[in-house]
Amino acid sequence: MRVTHDIEITTSSVILDGQPIVVQQTGEKMLVELYRRFVGDYPKFFKMDTLSRLGFIAAELLLKQPAAGNQQPVDAVILANRSASIKNDRDYLATITEGNYYPSPALFVYTLPNIVTGEIAIRHGIQGETSFYILDTPQQLNAIIAATPFQSALAGWCECSAQDKFYAKLQTIWNN
């Protein structure tokens, strides 16, 4: 198994293949900053919940790397986290509280953590397996990745537990 690229995103830093990307903003504003600087052509980004924005931005930066582009496209997306879609679940819950019952369809569609894998697959035309696991620790994901048949994958930890509390560490991996 060969890791070709990796990215780590915290609420105040982005490190791509060991090199920091300088950012001006922090938290969720930083994700918007990264979208405007490195993507800019996918308005659906603004409709996504934070977890999906996080995974989407990480995937955008990773899959734009030249070495990955010279090989066959990634054919699987394998992600995991500890808090599922709790941040968006709470946002949705706030729209159905007693006395203010206006359930938001836009929030409802993100009340599943695996939506982020779908967003990434749609954007990059990935037609292989997409999986999202709820685990205690990132280390548990390694065993799952090792047991999953794929040729090339975007895989890693993609966590958002509350407003401006998120962390992602994703890799592109080749099985050859």
Binding site: V32, P43, F46, K47, Y102, P103, S104, P105, A106, V109
Partner: protein, 85 residues
Amino acid sequence: MEQLIEQLKAQIIEALNFEDMTPADINTDAPLFGEGLGLDSIDALELIMLMDREYGIKLADPKAGKAIFQSVRTMAEYIQANRTK
């Protein structure tokens, strides 16, 4: 009517998270779905919720939606005729 149209545009931008847009960017008579703003079915549900929340209008007949959501102007005309708040 013009004031309602401007207010409605601002509410649509907020409800649908069009962070780069201003009311001036939305053509009052352009189609909301397909071409024009390019809204999808989830956006349609958000617009239905917006009309309920902001103007007290409950859309009971889904078939009526096609005419109402043709453009911002048709939405505003329907709101003006049917609003309860």
